[in-house]
Symmetry: C2
Subunit: 462 residues, 2 copies
């Protein structure tokens, strides 16, 4: 058993920082989604980059799969040990190594969570903007190219990671990028690692771009007669160039979930939740221009959340949408998916989701970072009800195909993991073979998160 031999060697290296306790294994093999428990053979807890490098060398020597683990909040099964092996839990590498306020950047270890970093930054007047909802680790967010509610204004992880330290599949440690704001010096290995889901290397350090806290922030909600009116408001707003910080669509079902789960009393209609960042006068100007567009599409007056605590409550509610969805059908399980389309096709895509879920008789909620053309559907189902589960799968399948047909993508921010692998060929065509070539060049033994991102083929280990 090569995995067992690897575990013996790792145990000698790490002592108590290797665990095979059932609780720990199950925690690392669980998923927030519907995937069955798929625990690793062992979990290791490295304390520094040198140790990660030693671990990878041992795994390479014994052909043992290595799965990087952050906080386990993936919705696409990234962390599941589908081929066994070890889970590399980076949560103890959680130091903020440097905050360079004058350069507006920070250097962190991969286990630092976004809330921890922003807590650390409070006194500096700076913040890290990427906000996927979950209090994910920054290493995990980079590995899945995460984004969330603020990507509209500040970009995704792709735009906000300047440089990485990475341990490669043979244990070598490399640095990609520098602290310069831009560079034309060679292949963009930073961007290649971002979104590679632990299949090309293990991220052991990140240099992140920070933003100045805006002088003024205001948030508001407004209701619309129909989803199409809200979507048309979004499209017009984007085209008018208003620099919205957040613009979230919440469909009527989801509002009902919020009212149940959060005790709110919002009108059960489609809503936009928005936020403006800027100078005092800039925010006022943005809000006024946006209000004009809202009015044109029959939206209600704004309900403002002006105080910091009211804003925090609003976005906390939004971030907990998956749990609010579950409140609609508490006895059922729930599954969430995400697609992203060009904004001109957004109304079509959302209408498809509404009509199709209604046709299939499924409890469906739609929320989304619609300013980017990205939205999520959550569906309730009984795992024991094969007919209903098949309907959910059918819906997911048709939604992914719709995304591709509309020139969009099968995932805007959740990643591929095991859940979306089956659509990679349809989305990428021949480019998938190029991804395979890169995987094979950087991980010829296929030990880094095998069975994820790249669907199996006859042409190589990936």
């Amino acid at each position: 058993m090569t995995i067992q031999t690897a575990i013996q060697a790792l145990s000698a290296l790490l002592g108590e920082r290797l665990s095979q306790s059932m609780t720990i294994l199950e925690q690392h093999g669980a998923s927030e989604s519907y995937y069955p428990l798929t625990p690793p053979d062992a979990v290791v807890f490295p304390q520094n980059t040198a140790e990660v490098s030693e671990i990878i060398k041992i795994c390479a020597a014994h052909d043992c799969p290595v799965i990087a683990f952050g906080t386990g909040t993936s919705l696409e099964g990234h962390q599941l040990a589908v081929q066994g092996g070890i889970s590399l839990d980076l949560s103890r590498m959680n130091a903020v190594l440097a905050v360079n306020a004058e350069d507006m950047d920070a250097v962190v270890q991969p286990g630092v969570t976004r809330e921890q970093l922003n807590q650390d930054l409070r006194a500096t007047g700076l913040f890290f903007p990427v906000d996927p909802g979950a209090n994910a680790s920054l290493g995990g967010m980079a590995a899945t190219r995460a984004s969330g509610t603020t990507a509209l204004r500040y970009g995704t992880m792709k735009e906000n990671v300047m440089a990485l330290e990475v341990v490669l599949a043979d244990g070598r440690i490399i640095r990609t990028g520098s602290r310069a704001r831009k560079s034309s010096a060679g292949y963009d290995l930073t961007k290649l690692m971002i979104g590679s889901e632990g299949t090309l290397g293990i991220i052991t350090e990140l240099t992140l771009r920070l933003q100045g806290q805006p002088e003024a922030i205001s948030a508001a909600t407004c209701a619309f007669p129909a989803v199409a009116d809200a979507v048309n408001t979004v499209i017009t707003t984007i085209q008018s160039g208003i620099p919205m910080a957040r613009m979230e669509l919440i469909d009527a079902n989801m509002v009902r979930g919020f009212n149940i789960a959060d005790g709110t009393a919002l009108p059960e209609q489609p809503h936009l939740f928005v936020e403006f960042h800027g100078s005092e006068s800039g925010v006022a100007e943005q809000a006024e221009r946006f209000a004009g567009i809202v009015q044109d599409f029959g939206g209600s007056a704004f309900k403002w959340a002006l105080k910091a605590e009211d804003r925090a409550a609003l976005w906390k509610m939004r971030h907990n949408a998956f749990y609010a969805h579950k409140a609609l059908a508490p006895t059922l399980r729930a599954m969430a998916t995400d697609i992203c389309v060009p904004i001109s096709r957004l109304a079509e895509a959302i209408e498809f989701a509404e009509v199709k879920s209604r046709e299939l008789g499924l409890t469906c909620t739609i929320i989304g970072h619609v300013g980017d053309g990205n939205f999520h559907c959550a569906l309730s189902f009984d795992r024991e009800d094969a007919v209903q589960f098949a309907k959910v799968q059918d819906f997911m399948h048709q939604l992914a195909e719709t995304a591709i047909a509309l020139n969009g993508t099968i995932t805007g921010e959740h990643g591929v993991g095991i859940g979306k692998m089956k659509y990679m060929q349809a989305e990428h065509g021949g480019a998938l073979d190029t991804m395979r070539l890169i995987k094979r060049a950087l991980d010829p033994q296929n030990i880094l998160n095998p069975g994820k991102l790249i669907p199996p083929s006859n042409t190589g280990p990936a």
Copy 2:
């Protein structure tokens, strides 16, 4: 002669669209820099992607180097046929294929120049923001990860190319990315191709992100007692979060060049040339805040360029800086270099350049996109004066080393080409081997722009 065999086959395919005329060969083997004329064996002029694919297949069959050619404005010798072979001139693939105004994107062929695209977009209220100065081709700009004066506000090519069509080293055609604003679906091949300088594939189509024309634009110049005052103004401005559209440093020598070449009468002191984009009131607010900072550092009152034609003249003068530099020493040749450092180290880096060039007795001008930490030095020299030329080389060398020592990069926007290869190991360390692995995986025969970007090693064709 394998190259000759390839040329015979290409000639049969292309007829008159293959040229071996000396004028054409020399035009494609010339450089705006100091490199000697290095012509290819033939130049081909494909008309569409299928033809590019056929050309590459022929070259692959005969191990013939292929060098993509846009407009030839590279300063680092990207287009030179250092190992012979064919120059693939993409200037006839110059159609704007689609403008999706509602999605604020455009699909173009690689030979479209940035001025051509912006001319085409005039009626739409949209523009493509990346502006490297030269009227370069968009394919070439993507291949070198170009940026320029507006990157501060709108990003570089990296942030403004959404998707590509690429012909690989074996002639296969792939598409990277989609028209969605973001995606987490697999490796970021778009970003891998951007900045790869024609060494991993030939870009045959680009999907570009567009921006809305700002409601208001104003530009201004102001003079400072010393370079350090101008640089400190830049640093404070960036940290204060003012969304500057352009912020260019011009040193006193360069101002003297402008006064000679452009007939201006600017005070021969260090200057900042700036531009503000936004709503009428937003621009006024930005300008007022910036003026406060300028005053704090002893800068002069603004000289405004409010009319569109005055702004155009200002930026034309800036873009022609290399020629204005030459006006300072009309009998000498000139060489330009570029580095980029974290903004907190910018004053040090510029001071180094000033002091070192003075010590060496060289005519040096410094200009830069300093809001990004990126600046250029141009130096005059007599190619026949070996001592002077060695001093120029020494300066270039020490400036590159300074960039690396300050946590920056050897090139912010000009690219590596042949000029910066010798510093790639120092900047990237072990990551250079990862670049080699990728090059070998995607171009195992090393036919795509061989002898560029990746320095020779004993470990493979790259």
